[in-house]
């Protein structure tokens, strides 16, 4: 574990140089412990694949003292300390109009479109962390058979709520933004809704499943989301 200063108000606690569920679990467990213990001077934490960015108040705690306190907690940072993960079901419409790259990805993978959809929707995904844009989940759990290098030419605009895959990752665009993932479909749910009391749908550590829906159901749910009557399935 390394402590890397990030200016006068933050320190990056780096566990390893790899993307894996094991390393990310330790990151999230350390975050949980820091919050649970209410570590002196800690203001805010941002978990990512393999590191935790800790924002602190230097008037309340010095850099060395903070690093020592974190180092003391680190050995306990394992999956056993984490509370049970939430299970979230995301309806996803895999059609060729919303799934901008569905056919191209299937062709590249030498799979029938139906089989690509089946493989993608059969897996359970772990939200490693939320980042980049508000509410965007970085997720693990893609079946190896559908791993693909990212698009050679990223799109300048990907519609919000698009579900994409690239390399070993699955992600859902939370706002319209540039992006290099292959877009397989779209969820009618808003990953980020600035007008909702709780604007961000997913949390680090959530377990996500995609439920394939047809276009008619997509439109139905989208209308309910618009009317704010849709309740996502979260267990």
């Amino acid at each position: 574990m390394r402590f890397l200063p990030a200016g006068d108000l933050a320190v990056s606690v780096e566990f390893a140089e790899e993307i894996s569920v094991e390393v990310n679990t330790r990151v999230r467990a350390l975050e949980f412990l820091i919050r649970q213990k209410g570590l002196t001077g800690v203001l805010e934490t941002v978990p990512t694949f393999r590191s935790l960015l800790v924002y602190y108040d230097p008037h309340a705690v010095g850099y060395e003292a903070l690093c020592e306190a974190i180092a003391e907690l680190a050995p306990q940072a394992s999956t056993t300390v984490l509370p049970p993960a939430r299970a979230v079901e995301l309806p996803c419409c895999y059609d060729t109009e919303l799934g901008l790259d569905l056919e191209a990805a299937a062709e590249r993978l030498r799979l029938p479109v139906d089989e690509l959809v089946r493989l993608h929707s059969a897996a359970e995904y772990l939200v490693y962390f939320i980042g980049f844009t508000p509410g965007l989940p970085y997720m693990a759990g893609m079946p190896e058979r559908i791993h693909l290098p990212r698009l050679e030419t990223p799109r300048t605009k990907v519609p919000a709520q698009s579900v994409g895959i690239g390399a070993t990752q699955c992600c859902i665009y939370s706002v319209e933004s540039p992006g290099g993932y292959w877009i397989l479909g779209k969820t009618p749910l808003r990953l980020y809704d600035p007008e909702a009391p709780d604007p961000v749908l997913l949390r680090p550590g959530d377990r996500v499943r995609f439920r394939p829906i047809d276009r008619a159901e997509y439109e139905r749910i989208a209308a309910q989301v618009e009317a704010r009557t849709f309740r996502p399935v979260i267990a």
């Binding site: 006068d8 941002v46 980042g131």
Partner: protein, 312 residues
């Protein structure tokens, strides 16, 4: 009381001290880029530090108040007029019902701050009134102000008139010195790359905004590629993508990113950086974390000193 916006200026937003605790959901803190000028504006109208006011980029707004109130304008050297007559900055300005105020384009600096006695009265979104325009969150409908907007101000007693004996200098240096702490990924740059960062001058570009300041200058050399496994981006992180040109990430930054970060601008120099106009130059100077904490305390003592010197 209501403030009616007659002209908004190119980018005028409601800001307070920012939205803490939501970076783990990808939501940045927002808040004023030049925190010191913002705090002084609030202080000059007798507000709490956290009261909401306006941040203006380049040209400020023209607005009318419908009741007597006090305002203060701080930050960039922008001309202020009340009903067409010049008014001072860094001073409490007493307004009467129907008065029209204009904050013009700054000769020096970029950002002006306008505080209203009582503070702007808007809904708190996730604990803050700060505007995050990219995420359409906070402020007035999550956006920059427009002509015709009306902003409510909390009613309260009028403060005494005060001014700063020695206002801080904002912008205008031939070369602004910006202090940084090296890291978190300084080891991904060659010695020559680090020397370039700390030895060369960089120019502020037009492509800069509240998310990040894009700088132009000598290319900063990486050791092995410019990509890392995405990690957290702190206030002031200096990201260096493949073209070797530094980007300093600011209050509306993305929470995480996958480019190498050579160093981090110290919090107390973010405001100075924000006041550098496109085309003007700046230089980076490295300090240790301990030195940065000492300088942070010094900058706070300096700010307190300015406030103690305020004159009735």
């Amino acid at each position: 009381m209501t403030v009616r916006i007659l002209d908004a200026g190119p980018l005028t937003t409601v800001q307070d001290l920012g939205r803490a605790g939501h970076l783990r959901y990808g939501i940045p803190p927002s808040g004023p880029l030049d925190r010191e000028s913002f705090l002084l504006a609030n202080r000059l109208v007798g507000n709490d530090a956290a009261a909401a006011g306006l941040e203006c980029t380049y040209m400020g707004p023209r607005f009318q108040v419908d009741r007597a109130c006090a305002i203060a304008v701080t930050g960039a050297a922008a001309p202020v007029t009340v009903n067409g007559a010049a008014a001072p900055r860094w001073t409490t300005i007493m307004l009467g019902a129907g008065d029209t105020v204009r904050v013009g384009a700054p000769r020096v600096g970029v950002l002006s701050y306008i505080a209203f006695s009582g503070g702007l009265d808007l809904a708190m979104i996730l604990g803050s009134r700060a505007t995050y325009a990219r995420g359409r969150l906070g402020g007035l409908e999550g956006r920059a102000l427009r002509q015709g907007d009306a902003l409510d101000v909390r009613d309260g007693p009028l403060p005494a008139v005060r001014s700063l004996a020695t206002p801080p200098s904002v912008g205008g240096e031939a070369e602004t010195i910006v202090r940084v702490v090296l890291g978190p990924q300084a080891d991904r740059f060659t010695d020559e790359g680090i020397r370039t960062l700390l030895g060369a001058t960089y120019e502020m570009t037009q492509q800069s905004d509240r998310m990040g300041a894009r700088l132009r200058g000598p290319r900063i050399e990486h050791t092995r590629g410019h990509d890392i496994i995405s990690d957290g981006i702190a206030l002031g992180s200096i990201q260096v993508p493949g073209d070797g040109q530094p980007i300093v990430l600011l209050v509306d930054r993305q929470s995480t990113g996958g480019y190498t970060k050579i160093a981090t601008v110290c919090s107390f120099d973010i405001g100075r950086l924000g006041q550098v106009k496109p085309g003007q130059r700046l230089r980076f100077a490295a300090v240790t974390v301990d030195e940065a904490h000492r300088l942070l305390r010094e900058s706070e003592t300096f700010l307190d000193g300015l406030l103690r010197e305020e004159r009735a």
